[in-house]
Structure formats: C-alpha cells, structure tokens
C-alpha cells in the first residue's frame, strides 16, 4: 500500500489539521482510495465548510414547504396534491475550462437532481455571467456555453424558458454558469435519498464509469492560476441521450413502489452518493467495485470512487424487486447492476478482487466534516449619491437608446433561439419577460419562474444587495400575476479565505435572510460556489436567485407587452429618483458609485400584493417590474415587446427629469389598464402610491412635448447588438 506523504495530502486539498482529523477518525493511516474519499467529501463543494455556519441562518420554512435545503432539491406544495421540485446549481469552473461540455453537464446534473426526487423536469433556466465583451475569451465562451446548454436541454426535451446574461469585467477570468431546473411531482410520489434496510440491495444504473472528471469537486473548490488550461482532461463529457433514457426509466420504476431511496451521482460520483444515502439512513454499505459497470477494465478503486462520469444513479431497492427494476432499465438499454448491500456497521466497506480496498466510518466522515468560522470584515457602507451629482443627458432619448443597445440590456434572442423553449407544449410566456410562465401539464395552473441578481448592488452594499436580489425575484413573479412561493440560491463568490470576500458573503446572506422572512419567500435549495478568483481578482458577489411562484389560473397571467392602444399607464410605488449604482450611472456616465437603492421590504410586500390583486381581478392588461434602468427602460421594453408606443406626460414631481426617468427606486411596477380609475382606487385602498403617467398608442415613445423616439429605432438598437457582436470576426 502506498505511503501517504504530506505532498499527497496537499495535492488532495486537505490542510494539516484536516489530515490530523483523518488520522483520528481512521485510527490509522488511510490508503490512497480512502484519502481520495476524505478529500472530496471535505472539499468546499461537497462539505460547505466555509458557508455552513451562515447558510443555517437563512429562512427556510413556510407552511407550503415540503422539503427545504439538504436534499437533492427543494420542494413546495402547489396545490391539488402536486409539488414543484427545483434547484439552481453552478458549473462555473468546468464551463470556463471547456465551455460546451462544462455548461452541458451542468444542465444535465441539475436535471438529475430534480428527477431523482420523482419529478418530471418541466422547465430549465440559466443565469450566465461573462467577462467584458471585448475580452479575447468572451465570444468563445458565450458560443460554447450557449451551445452546450442548448444541446443538453434540447435533447432531453425539457424547455429552457428563460434566464439572464450579463457581461462585466469582474468575470473576465471566472465566468458564471448557473443552471436551474423545475420539476413537477405528485406529493405522494416524492423520493428521498435516505437508505434503509439491512441487507437491501444497492443498485447502480445508467452510464458506465470512466475516468471523467476525477477530482472535479476539488477543482471547483480551488482558485484558478496560470495552469488552468492544463486542467482540461478532468472535465466530464455529457450524453443527454443517455440521460433522457435514465429519466424515463427512473420515472417508470418510480411509478412502482420498489424504491427505498435514490440519489444521483454528481460531484465526486459514487463516493458522495453512497455516503449521503448511508449517512441519512444511518446504515452501512458494503460495495463490490468489481460489479460497477466500467468503461475501462483496468480502473482502480480510487478512480471508480472519484470518477464524475455523468448520467449515473444509485438506489436502494426493496429486496426481491431487482428483476422488475432490471427489466425496466434493460428496456431503455441502460446498465443495471446490483453493486452492494446495506449493512448495520455504519461503515463503507469497498471490495475489489476479493480484497477490502477501503473501510471508512460513515457518520464521522459525512456529518463531522469540517466547519469553519472564517474571519470576515463587513463591507463599508458607501455614501448616498445625490441625483444632483449626476449630470443630466443632453438627450434622454439618445441615452435610452444607448442603454437598451448596450451589452447588458440588449435583447438576448441570439441565446434563447438556440434553446428549445416550447417543447412539452406548456410554455405560456416565452423568454424575454419578467418571469417565464409554464402551465402545469393537464391542469389550469401555471408556474412562474425567474432568475435574478444585481451584482452591482451586492458589491456596493452586500446587505442591501442581498435584500434586493430576493425582492427582485419576488417582484418578477408578482409582475406576471403569480403568488411567489420559494427560492433556490446559487451563491457565487471569490475566495472565502479572504476576510473581505467572506464579509461580502455574510452581508448578502443576512440581507437575503431578512428579505425571505418579510416576503415569506423561503430558501428551499441551493449551492455555494467559492473561489471564483483568478490571480487574486475575485468576481463581484453574485448570489443568483431562482424564484418560483404559482398561478391558480394560468390564463390570467399577464406579460410586459403593451397589448392595446389608448390604455392608461399607471406607475405603482414611490419614485425618488435614486441614481446611485444605477445602470444609467454605469452605462452613460461610466461611474460605479454611491449606495444602491434601499429596499424597504414592508413596502415591497404591500405594493406587490396590491399589484397581484389587480392582475387577479383582471384589471391589468400588461405589467412590468421596474429594475435596471428605471421607468424609461421599462417603458421601452413594454413598447418593444408590444410593438406599440406610448405618450408619457412630463412628470411634475420636483425630481430632476433624468432621475425620474432612470432612477432605480425599488418596489415599483408599471401596469396598463382600460380601467385606471379602479386601479388607482385599489392602490389607494392598500395605501400604495400610484399615478397615471401616460397612455399607450402610436409607434413612438414620447415624454412631454419635446422627447420622442420611434419604437422601431429602439428595437433595432435593442435587437442588433448581440447578433452583431457574435458574428463579428
């Protein structure tokens, strides 16, 4: 047996203290396979050792939550005996190294998390962040990531219904690929990972195990350096066709009652999945590695346990049901192998060639994994920037056109055209709106789904930014008329060993927690991606939120498109003209200054509840939440989506015109209505500020007497940037 040297320990990403703990738990020196297992189980990616302390503070419970964080995905009740199961996960590092396969396997992994629990995936979303457009790698990364996401989702036949895409120089060396899947299951047919039953068979299904991605989990927990390109061979290759078969076979088997527990193999493959199942069920496992389906006959125990080959699952079956299950998997032309049994020893025992090649205690390893209270310093609060310190543009219409034609506002049809967003026949609102809306198949219900983050705000003030990301997701769901239910979070940060980064993390978590509590919008699943740094340069703090909501009658959903002429446009919420950290300040003035807009969660809730009520009452023909770019950008988006202009009255508010047009005060919406009188009355009843600011109609967007721009001019600025950028040599 090979001798474990300090170098080997270091290569496995374990600190000296952690290795001492290994020796203590084992009571002897581990062999290389055992060391490998410790290393992946205790990696940041699998153990959440830097974040655990803070994640525990999040708000995770409400009466409609069936299952919160800790399982493969979160589960909420959507009524009528049905549940929505969803999660978002990052695949940042692999996507930077090999964008097509990295993104594709990210999508494959998150879909497996969903159908492992018994749900058929019904919608995919993704939040992408790339470096600045003129960075030499950006175009290549965009091309590869988008094609990879499309290839996997399209082949699986799960619609990719929306998402977001942002460009910023802080992602030059660390792009973010955050993929989310939502599935629907019967509440009676939900599957968990806990194993139970001494002597029960442990079954392996799906693709064979190859040498893919060995140590992917530790790679995802390390900073990039100049040798990153050398890490290429560790990236896995996805096979969406096989995953489609695994999905159908699993759902077919799940319709029987043969399964006790089931877990997909994601990061750290066979190791993480068996530990998780055994640890949750309080049992032991004995596994014969000779029985694991392999791509190469000479694979070692170390490789088999750490491989990240995709499209594989493990499950514990009721004894005697193996043949029934085998028939289903063979029908779908998939591997099926009984690879072990559950025991009562509380240990994972690995055999190969008749010998024991690994023997580890499960609980101390899985549950007693390290937990750090990393030192952190709070980000200092920036001063509020007065609107008077932001020059007014000579021509607000020209500024608007420049903004909506800038990389971060430009239409992303170039991306979503490559995603099948209509397969499954339930996509009611396609990409491009506030939230995507999919009908719950065979019912009148709908799910509203959104992903959001404003890293500009989180960087300036993590606490307010953390509140804002949750509030914006909540608002986007409200804007289509849905009741917000819960969120999944994908927390992308730099190196947590740096106190200022850890401070950003803590601030964001605290802000998010407060927003989740006030808005009754709990976190039910998520993941943390640290070490998004290259040569000491971290990304902006990017806690991406995926939110879902439910509509009892999907036919009542509204979009942001102006739908008829001569309707009143009502601005809901209070306008103060907040320009600090605004998109206007960044895009037009090139400045990144001031405090982000404050988020008053009680007002957020009051205003949103009122708007949702108006939509439900059928008073609203179009609704758009106000976020980046404020009133003027929102009006432009509504006009472009509906191919119809609007005449806005010159505001008479005492606020500078450019601050009124571009300010990013929170908790605001624009709605159109044929019955604005009732809208105003309803708002007044709820104590919500609301005023008519103009009327829809014509083919131009005008403000007062002097400002005017044609909708077609706006549209070409908005639609041309992305295709031109991607096709330029």
């Amino acid at each position: 047996m090979s001798k474990i040297t300090p170098e080997i320990v270091k290569e496995h990403g374990l600190t000296e203290d952690e290795y001492d703990k290994v020796l203590e738990i084992m009571g002897r020196e581990p062999n290389i396979t055992e060391l490998g297992i410790f290393s992946v189980m205790w990696s940041e990616h699998c153990s959440y050792k830097s974040s655990k302390k803070w994640l525990k503070t999040l708000h995770t419970e409400e009466p409609w939550v069936i299952c919160g964080p800790g399982e493969n995905a979160g589960i909420v009740d959507i009524g009528d005996g049905q549940a929505a199961i969803f999660k978002m996960e990052s695949h940042n590092h692999p996507s930077f190294i090999e964008p097509f396969q990295g993104a594709a396997t990210g999508v494959g992994g998150i879909m497996r998390d969903i159908f492992t629990m018994g749900a058929r995936p019904v919608a995919n979303m993704n939040a992408l962040r790339f470096g600045r457009p003129d960075h030499p790698k950006t175009k290549h990364l965009v091309n590869g990531v988008v094609a990879g996401i499309g290839s996997y989702g399209n082949c699986m036949g799960v619609p990719t219904v929306g998402g977001e895409c942002e460009f910023d120089t802080s992602y030059d060396g660390n792009i973010l690929v955050n993929a989310m899947t939502v599935g629907v299951a019967d509440t009676e047919k939900i599957f968990y990972s806990a194993a139970a039953g001494e002597g029960y068979p442990l079954v392996y299904v799906g693709s064979r195990t190859g040498r893919d991605g060995i140590h992917g989990a530790t790679m995802a927990s390390a900073e990039f350096d100049d040798d990153t390109d050398e890490k290429r061979p560790t990236v896995q290759v996805g096979d969406p066709f096989t995953e489609k078969l695994v999905l159908e076979a699993c759902l077919e088997l799940m319709a029987t009652d043969a399964i006790i527990g089931i877990q997909d193999m994601g990061a750290a493959g066979l190791t993480c999945s068996t530990f998780e199942m055994a640890s949750k069920g309080g049992v032991g496992v004995e596994m014969d590695l000779d029985l694991v389906p392999k791509r190469a006959a000479d694979m070692t125990a170390y490789e088999l346990m750490l491989s990240e080959s995709q499209e594989r699952m493990v499950m514990v079956l009721k004894p005697g049901r193996e043949e029934e299950a085998r028939k289903i998997f063979e029908k779908w032309e998939l591997n099926f192998a009984v690879v072990g049994r559950l025991t009562d020893t509380g240990r994972l025992v690995l055999k190969m060639g008749g010998e024991i090649v690994g023997d580890l205690p499960i609980d101390p390893l899985a549950e007693a994994s390290p937990e750090y209270d990393r030192p952190w310093v709070a980000t200092s609060k920036p001063a509020i920037l007065d609107a008077a310190d932001v020059p007014a543009p000579n021509d607000p219409c020209a500024a608007l056109k420049r903004m909506i034609g800038s990389p971060n506002f430009a239409q992303k049809r170039w991306i979503w055209d490559q995603y099948d967003h209509m397969v499954m026949g339930d996509t009611v609102q396609r990409p491009g709106g506030d939230s995507a809306v999919v009908r719950v198949h065979g019912t009148p219900k709908g799910l509203a789904i959104t992903t959001d983050c404003t890293p500009r705000y989180c960087y300036a003030d993590p606490f307010e930014g953390g509140k804002q990301v949750v509030a914006e997701a909540w608002r986007n769901i409200t804007a289509v008329g849905a009741k917000p239910l819960a969120i999944t979070d994908c927390l992308n940060f730099g190196n947590p060993e740096r106190p200022e980064i850890m401070g950003q993390f803590v601030g964001c978590i605290e802000g998010m927690g407060e927003a989740c509590r006030t808005l009754e919008f709990p976190v039910v699943s998520g993941n943390v991606s640290f070490y998004n740094e290259t040569r000491g340069e971290g990304i902006r703090p990017t806690p991406t939120i995926g939110g879902i909501g439910v509509l009892t009658d999907v036919a009542k959903a509204v979009s942001c498109a102006f739908s008829a002429a001569d309707e009143d446009i009502v601005l809901i919420g209070e306008t103060n003209g907040h320009l600090g950290r605004s998109a206007y300040l960044a895009e037009i003035e090139g400045r990144d200054e001031g405090a982000p807009p404050p988020v008053d969660l009680a007002i957020e809730r009051r205003n949103g509840d009122a708007v949702r009520g108006m939509i439900d009452d059928g008073l609203v023909s179009a609704c758009h939440d106000l976020s980046d770019g404020g009133v003027f950008v929102a009006l432009a988006e509504m006009a472009m989506a509906g191919d119809m202009g609007a005449a806005i009255d010159a505001p008479d508010t005492g606020i500078a015109l450019h601050a009124w047009l571009f300010g990013e005060d929170q908790a605001r919406y624009l709605v159109t209505s044929r019955d604005a009188k009732t809208v105003l009355a309803k708002a007044a009843e709820a104590g919500v500020p609301a005023s008519i600011i103009g009327r829809t109609g014509s083919d131009r967007l005008t403000v007062g007497q002097s400002l005017s721009i044609s909708v077609s001019e706006l549209k070409s600025a908005h639609e041309d940037w992305m295709p031109n950028f991607m096709s330029a040599p």
Partner: protein
C-alpha cells in the same frame, strides 16, 4: 380517426403531438414503442419530433432501422396516413419513404422560433383545411432542417405538387430572409407521390392552443380528423 404516435428512445415531442391529436379527435391516441413489430388498426401514424438515439450518426438514421418501421412502411403501402414532424421527417427520409435529406442548418446553430410558412398545396389530408398560399405561423426547433435533394428530384417534387410548405416572409414571399435554415427552394415540408405521407420540419402541434400563442397548427389536426373519419 384512430391515431398512434411511435416512440423511439430519445423522442421528446411524442406527448405534445398526442395532446394535439386528442384535442382534435376527443379520443385517446395510442403510443407505440419502437420495438413493437405490429400495429393496431390505424388511420394515422405520427412519427414525432425529438432526438431519436441522440441524433447520433445522423438524425433519424438509427431510428429508421427500428423494428416498427417495417410495419409503418407496410401500412403506408395500404394507404394509412403518416405524419413525420421534425425528427420524424428525418426518419422518413432515412427510410426513403420521402426523398432528400435534412442537413445541418446553414447557420450551424439550433434554431427555435416561430416562422412563417406558405401553404403550397391543399391537395392532401394534411393540408386540406388551409387555403393555397395562406401564410401560417408555426414554430421550428431543430439543428438539421436544411432540406437538400438533387435537381431532378426537386423538379419532380414541384411538377407533382408535392411541396406542402415553404418558409416565407410575413407577406408570403419566398426569399433568403424568410428561409431560416438554408433549405433548398425554401422547402419546409413534402409529400410522397401517393400524398399519404407528409414530412415537415416545423411543429404544428406547438401552436394548436391559444394559450400558447396561436392556433395555426390546429387546422392540420382538425383536417385529418375530418378526412380520416373511420
């Protein structure tokens, strides 16, 4: 009308087209696994969209050799209507029930969006409920929709009025701007000589429900029900 949808490993629009057929017939539409060797009595067989066998080797090539396809061929000989949508069109060309082949899109990217189609012939059970030269909006979603055949076959298709749909602009003009994938002669769908087989890349089942944004696909299914009433 008795209808069935063939399901291959990797089919993924099977349920969608089943929903559209059931909406028009009010009767259940059977799903037939590709390993079956016999079919029940049927008036319409649908080969659905998706990625049969992952589109590996060539789209539709492996599915074309599935056991059920022998039976499908036999049924077409006896006049049963067969509709191949998207990947189903690939399968029909690979089995040579329809001429030509669908190559990689000219732009080398997957395209999912609504396109305008011009109805080129109403003389088939599939298109009888449309008007000739009517412009309809139907979504496409494919990597390989670039129709190609030799000039003689193209001439034959045109001479025999076998082009069912062409991609067009919003006004019905046939031109490069209205052609999303580089298809020869902007062909989006073709018929066999007997006019009982239609292969088309666009997905009529995706716009047959007002809630999803349009119903231009619905006349195809309603027309089939009227024509094939048992």
């Amino acid at each position: 009308m008795k209808a069935a949808v063939i399901v291959f490993p990797g089919s993924n629009c099977d349920r969608d087209v089943q929903v559209s057929i059931e909406q028009s017939t009010g009767k259940p539409c059977a799903m037939i696994w590709h390993k079956e060797t016999e079919l029940p009595e049927l008036d319409l067989i649908v080969i659905p969209g998706g990625f049969s066998y992952g589109d590996y080797l060539r789209s539709g090539a492996i599915a074309a050799h599935s056991p059920i396809m022998r039976e499908v061929k036999a049924r077409t000989d006896s006049g049963v209507a067969v509709l191949g949508i998207c990947n189903g069109f690939h399968v029909l060309t690979e089995t040579q029930l329809l001429p030509g082949i669908l190559m990689r899109n000219a732009g080398l990217k997957f395209i999912c969006r609504d396109v305008d189609l011009r109805v080129e012939t109403t003389s088939s059970v599939f298109t009888q409920n449309y008007a000739k030269d009517q412009v309809i909006r139907i979504p496409i979603a494919h990597n390989d929709g670039n129709y190609f055949t030799d000039p003689d076959t193209l001439k034959m298709l045109e001479d025999e009025d076998r082009v069912a749909f062409r991609y067009c602009d919003a006004q019905g003009g046939i031109n490069e701007a209205g052609n999303p994938n580089g298809s020869m002669s902007s062909i989006a769908g073709i018929l066999n000589r007997r006019r009982n087989i239609l292969g088309m890349m666009p997905h009529p089942e995706r716009l047959a429900d007002q809630l999803l944004g349009g119903i231009d696909g619905r006349p195809m299914f309603d027309g089939l029900v009227e024509a094939l009433v048992a």
